[in-house]
Amino acid sequence: MAEMALSVTGLRKAFGGVQAVRGATFSVPTGSVCALIGPNGAGKSTAVNLISGALPADGGRVVLDGTDVTGWPPNRIARSGLIRTYQLSREFGRLTVLENLMVTPVGQAGESLVNVFFRPGRVRAEERRHLDRALETLRTFGLFELRDSYAGELSGGQKRLLELARSVMAGPKVLLLDEPMAGINPALIEVIGEHIASLREADVTVLMVEHNLGVVERVCDLVIVMAEGATLATGTMADLRADPAVVRAYLGGAAA
Amino acid sequence: MHSFILSIGFGLVTASILALASMGLTLQFGVTNFVNFAYGDFLSLGAYISWTANVKGGLNIWAAMAVGALSMGVIAMALNQFLLGPFARRFRNLFYVLIVTFGLSLIMLNVIQAIWGPNYQQYRVGMGSPLHVGPFLLTANQLVIFGIGVAAMLAIHLMLTRTRLGKAMRAMSDNPSLATVSGINTRAVTAVTWFLTGTLAGLAGTVLGLNIASITPSTGETFLFVIFAAVIVGGIGKPYGAMLGALIIGLVTEISAVGINAAYKLDVAFAVLIIVLLIRPQGLLAVKGKA
């Protein structure tokens, strides 16, 4: 993989007259867990939408593992290895937890009508492989017991874990997490933080938008600060605490 | 060339009928966020109530029209109160209330047919001879229809921009959750919106019946798809888009009748719809996030 798993340069996006993102530039080193922080309205969520292709950018470039993916549709970017999660968990409510994971891999043999009828053996073999990996992933995230529950019946924290599990099942190069700790019971935050940190071992690079600076400090290698739509600073939490511009813009009154 | 100019005149009349109907649909969609598939039957029912007031009750056509429109407004409000509102509140998923409106449409069509019979009915109204109005040739009734359409559009514009109700409606259309926490009485605004949609539908149904000189129980349903065309062309959820869509569809269908067999008028509206869908599916004056 390239040295920088994800690089954005000069990203711009305006909504009507409002410039939500004005020239954001940052890079996420491969194999790291990074955070994107900043005050509300800094453009972080918009940036996530631009990077994942959910919104078209007005300008700038997004480079994923050396490939320029600017302007690509979201499903193409996802196939290239960038998976994102959502601020409000968007699980498939009427599928079971296990099915939520099983549906994740792209291009399954069983998704082709021809295979379903003419190559059932191949479909079954692939299903077994996915099943094993899905069950293992569920065990890792502590969701094995809930495998047959409808995802819509899970608690908020469990849904967040499910979303992480599903993202991991997709085998991404880069995982973009949009406020993974938002609305989570404080008891679970530690657990989720550990799961995120352990993703390094699975060769997944993580960029997460977060407000919970305690988690960020514990889990992340590198922190990128955005304010008013642009990148303000990059560094470790220690570096940033010492940076007066950052303190002024964000750290002064932020939650720790 | 002469018939071309004349067809513009007819197009304006059709456009004003369509504008009445489209605005009703679009206002209601904006506030409640679902499409009412029974809307065509609202037109029919309004038309038939007016007919009863006109032919059986002896009222002149314009008074009968008012009776039909207001009755339909009340009926629409009741339907929301007892049927559509509860479903919309109970099920987060849009599917349910859509199917309910689809079912309501079936029920209403059959109720109308059971009460008034399936045959053509006509209003008891004088058929004046066509007058020369500028380059156009229109009957006095058509002129009044056009006037009603313009007056209604103006009234709605004023309501949306000047009154508290109108602002509340726009707020609910743009951002429902924000509207609720801003202290807007969403239930009351919704109720009034349904009254408006019913009234506009009743009005539109009656002038439609007047313009095409007869009504059947399915008149409204058949017209519904032209209304859809206007609303989609203009951009769903946007009242001014509905007016623009009505103008475009109204003119195009009438002008096309000069060249093509008039039986296909409505299909021409469709061709416009399909072209817009292929090129700009969110409509000409789209509201972000609605489509």
Partner: protein, 338 residues
């Protein structure tokens, strides 16, 4: 023979509606496509099956229609299915444009109304409002049947087709393809975000369902011997929706339950309703009101329908795929998509 005729008609419509219901259930129940144009697909199947089994229009018969190729059975039936599928392709290309579901429903409904209008007005196509009649009865010549025994034989044939349809639909709804359909039903944007071609899957669902609609329509036109535009007004789409929702949305057994309801209401109920004020025309109106009312009541009191959708548990998945216990720990998120 009165009782026999009556029972066989009920049975035939049961089989036909099973096939209709499975098709729409796949599109709407499993994939979430609000296909309010479904009846137009049935009509496409009926018309094409009809005109390809008839010879060219006889002079002086007053009928006019295209094709008229008099092909041997069951070719016309298959062509009916193909025609409906092609229509589905056309509709899908125009309508599936990342629109929200009710917007899509409007487009679908409008397209079906246009189709209705065109067929009604453009007589050379399928004989306009009069429609097709005297459609030849398949097998009748070969097996030397009279009009009555034909009905029995053809109903048996329809039963076989329904059985085949059941087998096909079961395979589909137990496959990973169906899982993807259901994910799209819940949240197409997230499925897109996973990298899948949502448009392709929606099309697949639409096309398969359309094929079923076409086959059902083809059977219908051969049984009844006639078909015109009054058979496929919008209320007919509604009846099929009602059937699958009341029967139980999202599952094939529910679809079967639903197809019992329709013939029961439309054929049985009128026998018990007294003629109201001497107006026999009221019967279909009351039937429709009952169906509409029943649907709304079902949605309120028992939205899952008679037969609720069944959960796909781990045990079922394992049985279906005979998975072994994982031998060694597999790294989380390691190898990419199998």
């Amino acid at each position: 023979m009165q009782i026999g005729y009556y029972a066989i008609t009920l049975l035939f419509f049961f089989f036909a509606y099973c096939i209709f219901n499975w098709g729409l259930n796949l599109q709407f129940g499993r994939t979430g496509i609000l296909n309010f144009a479904y009846i137009a697909f049935v009509a496409a199947g009926a018309y094409i099956a009809g005109v390809t089994s008839m010879g060219p229009p006889a002079a002086g018969s007053g009928q006019s229609y295209v094709l008229g190729t008099a092909l041997p059975y069951p070719v016309p039936l298959l062509l009916g299915g193909v025609a409906a599928t092609l229509l589905g392709l056309l509709v899908g290309l125009v309508a599936f444009r990342r629109l929200r579901s009710d917007y899509l429903a409007i487009v679908m409904l409008s397209l079906s109304l246009v189709a209705y209008d065109v067929v009604n007005n453009y007589v050379p196509l399928f004989d306009g409002a009069d429609g097709l009649s005297n459609v030849p009865q398949p097998f009748a010549g070969a097996l030397n049947l009279n009009a009555n025994s034909f009905l029995y034989v053809f109903t048996g044939f329809a039963g076989l087709v329904a059985l085949a349809g059941w087998w096909v639909m079961s395979r589909i709804t137990r496959s990973p393809l169906d899982r993807t359909f259901r994910a799209i039903r819940d949240d197409p944007d997230v499925v897109r975000g996973l990298g899948k071609n949502v448009f392709g899957y929606q099309m697949t669902s639409l096309l398969i369902g359309s094929f079923f609609a076409g086959i059902g329509g083809g059977l219908l036109v051969e049984f009844v011997g006639a078909f015109n535009t009054s058979a496929w007004l919008t209320p007919e789409t509604f009846v099929i929706f009602a059937a699958i929702i009341i029967g139980g949305l999202g599952n094939n057994v529910g679809a079967i339950a639903g197809s019992l309801i329709v013939p029961v209401i439309f054929v049985e109920l009128p026998k018990f309703l007294p003629q109201i004020g001497g107006n026999p025309a009221l019967i279909p109106e009351i039937d429709n009101m009952v169906i509409g009312g029943l649907l709304i009541a079902t949605l309120w009191f028992r939205p899952q329908g008679l037969v609720p959708e069944r959960k796909t548990s781990f045990a079922r998945l394992r049985r279906g795929n005979r998975a072994d216990r994982p031998a060694a720990a597999i790294p989380v998120g390691g190898a990419a998509n199998g």
